[in-house]
């Protein structure tokens, strides 16, 4: 039972990782299933203590990437280092230091969450604080219900609970909040924030972009096996945003009036939406004055700025070539 780590919950007591400062290093990683290039030459680095979010539409290759990093799948080509080791050959050692929630977590039918946590504690040879873990993931009320009788969201929480048992340095959370109610999702966010505070590293995938914006220090957006952009959420928004815009419900005549009487870029969507692009802060006043002068019908005026989700939809909607191949 010597492999058991003490269940310390304060970050500075965690073992420092060998390869100083880098928790995960990936260089031109490739993985194909037959003809399908699921992961097509991606590179990224996750620093120790960072929350890194891998985003991308269904089938982008996120889970494949994560499973390679966990040592559950073999890569075809490229370099992969997790906590200083090759996850495929040194998986058995690595697994003691990582926590994992697989996508669509499933488990044996009949243990209760409490029993499952105790089982994991024995397997890892640690003394886990079962009650503390149950409380953290909001499972106290259903701690003694058979796994098979838990709701979908409660099952997810068991997955999260089990990923915490071995006091991991690095966590891989593959869609941990899919199927959770808003309150439970926020509880997971709290857990992730706490993990970060304790100095642990988290690799997170999610389809909720606001979640990534909320939690991630850095994100990478994957599409068809490639990383099309990466950076802090702010950097990505700035790099790809079409800037601030004024949107008004009105007619094509209004759009034409604004085009003629201001120097601003104006677009009409063919139905009833007029968009005015704003470069400087005075532009909004110019636009509003012109609208008033026109004397035309208008309603529902608002300014709009891109969220990470807008950028995501825009980038993923464009053909790959237009993105300059993997940022």
């Amino acid at each position: 039972m010597s492999e058991g780590r003490k269940p310390t919950r304060s970050g500075n007591e965690l073992n420092p990782t060998p390869n100083s400062g880098v928790a995960i290093g990936v260089t031109s990683l490739h993985k194909a299933y037959g003809d399908l290039k699921a992961v097509d030459g991606i590179s990224f680095t996750v620093k120790v203590g960072e929350v890194f979010s891998l985003l991308g539409p269904n089938g982008a290759g996120k889970t494949t990437t994560i499973e390679i990093l966990e040592g559950l799948r073999q890569k075809d080509q490229g370099g992969v280092e997790v906590l200083g080791v090759d996850p495929w050959t040194k998986g058995y050692e690595l697994h003691k230091k990582i926590g994992v929630i697989p996508q669509g977590f499933k488990f044996f039918e009949y243990p209760t969450p409490r029993e499952a946590i105790k089982y994991y504690a024995v397997l890892f040879g640690v003394k886990a604080d079962v009650e503390d873990i149950l409380r953290k993931v909001l499972l106290e009320d259903s701690a003694d219900v058979y796994f098979t009788r838990l709701s979908g969201g409660q099952k997810q929480k068991v997955g999260l609970a089990l990923s915490l048992v071995n006091d991991p340095e690095l966590l891989f959370l593959d869609e941990p909040t899919t199927g959770l109610d808003p309150q439970a999702r926020r509880a997971v966010w709290d857990v992730i924030r706490e993990l970060k505070k304790e100095g642990r590293t988290v690799l997170l995938t999610t389809h909720y972009l606001e979640e990534a914006e909320e939690l991630a220090d850095r994100v990478a957006i994957m599409h068809k096996g490639k990383i099309i952009t990466s950076g802090t959420p702010q950097e990505i928004i700035e790099a790809h945003s079409s800037g601030e815009r004024l949107q008004i419900h009105g007619t094509e005549r209004l759009a034409n009036y604004l085009k003629e009487h201001t120097k601003l870029r104006v677009e009409f969507d063919g139905e009833n939406l007029v968009t005015v692009y704003l470069q400087r802060k005075e532009d909004v006043l110019t636009a509003i004055r012109a609208i008033e002068e026109s004397g035309l019908e208008w309603s529902d005026l608002r300014t709009k700025r891109d969220s990470l989700e807008d950028i995501f939809v825009k980038l993923v909607g464009e053909p790959l070539e237009a993105l300059g191949q993997g940022a």
């Binding site: 697994h95 499933k106 044996f108 089982y119």
Partner: protein
């Protein structure tokens, strides 16, 4: 190999097993139902006394003592038929072909020595008729002898190979123990391992320090315990309900250990070797069913045609059941040792293959 982890897995698995009612039914209730059904169908050797209709048209002292003599064999149960009835019609209306008619004048003929025949009705294609006719002849001979004032000199003493004779139930208990040794681990492991693969539970487990062999060992341990429990239940039912003659010896234990080991491994091999849960079930049935019927579970292999007998000799379950018969029924330990030797080799191969091809993770 870490025993604490094996025991933790054993604990979780056995609790799960007990909590799922289907598991308990198949492990503990089903074997008992089987032994009750098959025991009831086949116990008692022959199928009870034969009903024989008798019409005594004579009514003399000697004719009634003749009927009594017929009645004293436990093989026939005599049903008297009234003299007013037409005997053949009566037989047909009772769907029977076995009957004896003692004609009027039987008594006077016996006294005077005038030949007279008793009529024995029967159906030549029916085995019961041969028995009825044989017994009637025997009793007639005895009366003839008595009339002549002689006594029997030659007789037959019926003996059996063993001091007590083997009954069907004595083969049924080892056979059905073999049946559970095969079916409980096979069906469970084929199912579990294909499901765990589909649900990525094996991957999940591979992320813990639990090893493949530890996982497999805990399943083997569980099915050994389960097999021993159902062995005692079935033996108790066989002995107390049907009077089975069974020798309880330590020799039984190696078979109850190696059997589950073999079939847990085989189930594992089939379950993880298949792409889907459905195909695993199909392959599992293809492997299990022939073995279930051809290895001497419900009837001794020696009663099967020669080509099926040689087929039985390549089925692992045959050696479990043959071995159990050798130790529980015949007390033939040298033959049992050969069965055990074959099982050790077979299970080493299958266990080796299972560990080799059972993958926690994918490439």
């Amino acid at each position: 190999m870490n025993l604490k982890r094996v025991l933790a897995d054993f604990d979780v698995f056995s609790r799960g097993y007990m909590r799922s009612r289907i598991g308990v039914f198949f492990a503990l209730v089903f074997p008992i139902i089987l032994i009750l059904i098959f025991g009831a169908i086949f116990s008692g050797g022959s199928s009870g006394p034969i009903n024989v209709y008798v019409q005594n048209q004579d009514g003399s002292q000697i004719s009634s003592s003749f009927v009594n003599a017929l009645n004293s064999t436990s093989t026939m149960r005599l049903v008297p038929v009234d003299n007013t009835q037409n005997f053949t019609k009566y037989l047909l209306s009772h769907s029977s072909s076995d009957g004896i008619v003692i004609p009027a004048g039987f008594g006077t003929a016996f006294a005077s020595g005038k030949p007279i025949n008793v009529s024995a009705y029967g159906n030549p294609s029916s085995t019961t008729s041969a028995i009825v006719s044989g017994i009637t002849h025997g009793v007639i001979n005895e009366f003839n002898l008595r009339r002549a004032g002689g006594s029997s000199v030659l007789g037959v003493q019926e003996l059996n190979v063993k001091s007590q004779s083997f009954k069907y139930i004595d083969f049924l208990v080892p056979g059905l123990v073999g049946f559970t040794v095969l079916t409980s681990p096979m069906f469970a492991l084929v199912n579990i391992s294909s499901q765990y693969k589909r649900d990525k539970i094996f991957k999940q487990l591979s992320l813990t320090p639990l090893t493949k062999s530890e996982w497999l060992l805990s399943k083997i341990m569980f099915y050994i315990v389960l097999t021993i429990i159902s062995f005692f239940l079935m033996t108790a039912v066989g002995v107390f309900a049907f009077g089975a003659h069974i020798t309880l010896t330590l020799w039984i234990i190696p078979f109850l250990v190696i059997g589950p080991l073999l079939f847990v491994s085989l189930g594992m091999l089939v379950g993880t070797g298949s792409k889907t849960v459905e195909s695993a079930a199909v392959v599992g049935n293809l492997v299990t069913f022939p073995m279930m019927f051809l290895s001497g579970t419900f009837f001794p292999v020696s009663t099967m045609p020669a080509y099926l007998q040689s087929l039985a000799h390549v089925l692992p379950l045959f050696y479990v059941i043959d071995g159990l018969n050798n130790v529980m029924t015949y007390g033939n330990y040298s033959a049992a040792l050969i069965d055990l030797g074959v099982l050790v080799v077979l299970s080493a191969i299958i266990f080796g293959l299972a560990v080799r091809f059972f993958k926690w993770r994918e490439d």
